[in-house]
Symmetry: C2
Subunit: 359 residues, 2 copies
Amino acid sequence: MSTGTRRATIADVAREAGVSTSTASVVFSGKVNVADATRERVLAAAADLGYAGPDPRAASLRTGRSGIVGVVLGGELRHAFLDPVTTAMMDGLTDALASISAGILLLRDDPRDDEPPPIADAPVDAVVLIGCSGRTRDALETVRHRGLPVVVIEGDAGEEVPQISLDNREASADISRRVFQLGHKRVATITLPLDAARERAPLTRERIAGATVPVTLDRLAGFRDVFPDGPGVTAAGSLIDEGYIAARTLLADDEGIVRADRPTAIIAQSDLLAVGAIRATEELGLRVPDDLTVVGFDGIAADGLGSLELTTVAQPALAKGRAAGEQVARMLEGEHGESVHFTCEFRAGETAAPPRAGR
Amino acid sequence: MSTGTRRATIADVAREAGVSTSTASVVFSGKVNVADATRERVLAAAADLGYAGPDPRAASLRTGRSGIVGVVLGGELRHAFLDPVTTAMMDGLTDALASISAGILLLRDDPRDDEPPPIADAPVDAVVLIGCSGRTRDALETVRHRGLPVVVIEGDAGEEVPQISLDNREASADISRRVFQLGHKRVATITLPLDAARERAPLTRERIAGATVPVTLDRLAGFRDVFPDGPGVTAAGSLIDEGYIAARTLLADDEGIVRADRPTAIIAQSDLLAVGAIRATEELGLRVPDDLTVVGFDGIAADGLGSLELTTVAQPALAKGRAAGEQVARMLEGEHGESVHFTCEFRAGETAAPPRAGR
DNA sequence: TTGTACGCGTTATCAA
DNA sequence: TTGATAACGCGTACAA
């Protein structure tokens, strides 16, 4: 084990082994057949010099590949990963990308004062944009300019960009219609954030007009297709406690007294919100679904609901992530990426029922 | 806008602008002062050629830096991100690393059959190992061999590796002692997984002997310091539903009848487990803390507990992540990384009380 | 302030 | 099966 002053390179190894650098290189890449004896010698030399394999930086300069796919998450990283849907998507993405041995580089899209956005100079082979809001247009622009393959998941991208989309509006309208058909007239919705500000507040025309999150808007549109004047509040995120807070706003006054004109059904834009809403409902002494119908959206394995089965529309989150990964893989192969559209599926649970007589 | 057959390089831009490549380079790196007129010309040429800035691959070969820090998460990525503690840690890490403009590369440590582990040839400047179990020793070995700076968070690494640690045993003993001092005699624990198998089962001497997760063992040791013979069950993960399941096992028989000899207190190894335990308790018709004391560990903002405040020990998860990032930053500066030890802090809530008289 | 020259560590190509 | 050579695209002493 000789201790050099600097790290050994493949050239050193080659010299030590008495072969050319190209031969040594081939030994490590394994792309071409090498005589066993030669390989042995090279490996021995490498071990001797403490050579840990080709420098990925140099290799990627030469090959033009870094083996890394950048994933741009809207908003803060922690929020993104608190959401089971995102998590499931990442899972599918990880899976698909693992099959082409690509790593995942987490990239933020929040603009910092001075620096350039990380996407501008990250050594990635391709980029996946998730949950695009307005800002992400910039990210998209940057990426396109760099000529990187890009796939957008549920975002508002241009025509030429492969997109992974969901029938948010239709699915939302579907479950809304079912609630309507149960006989509910006074129905409210709890929505996801409208924009990066993530304000908790009642829905107003103005706020909707200024909204930038497509998912929220699409699901809201589906709700409004059925309940054109249905009231709603926006949550600050897809969190149980947010649903709890929002539901209290809808159901009770400041003193915690249940309003006489409370809705008989709540349509939440995510399962987590629905779970929170159910908790709030029960705490107010109402029962689900007898006193109040609560439905969700996503179809995640709603951890935290105990034994009650949530009525919701299930989205194929994992498949979405996987599809994104597969399209990235295709594009890296030089083929054209394709947009993929997914549909949700209604899942009957135990949290929806007709309104009580007389309401 | 000329359309070349291949992407423009900085040399093309320089030529187009009538300056040398070094001047062009300097314009983009911004390290040295450049005459405004020159800069303008270079930028114009770049825009003209559709040059999107220096190729990160080439730049990183040249500078020896990729601006990427690899994060190796024990187990599957999705599990890791379902855990609020991990999430908070990642948050702190992100934060600290953002200040040195480093990206985060997600690395798995589950061994694939054929390929080399991703850590072996990812273009990272440093590595953070999180939640090390047995397998991670290999990852550590690989990283050390590559000569990369590495920081281990709550893992069993060697002496020379900077570690971010927590007083798991002491904190666990502390809260156990408080439960003891309330007068509880029959106390059970719900632990985190003992190993990668993540089995749900009662604690046995054999299982403990084969355990590989230091965090679980340390917290268990603290519990046993106070309740040497206290029974327990292991959960399959730090999840609410896991706590629910585990608590049912401890409190009731298969028919859901509360055992006569049920514990009067449950010490859970995580807040999520505690929340699940509380839910199970209430579903069995018992009240917390009147009928049963339940305490947790972590001090996360326990989303999903409604209005009840959990009694727990809070760990500085965010600070842990940040500390790891800071040590990485130091090491990248050429300084020595230091180990950092954090302590937990008891947080009185509303879920612990003396046992009912006569129990 | 700008230009020259070199090397970062590799791999692809082609010829031997 | 192996070896020589030429890029890959850039940053940075150093000199001008």
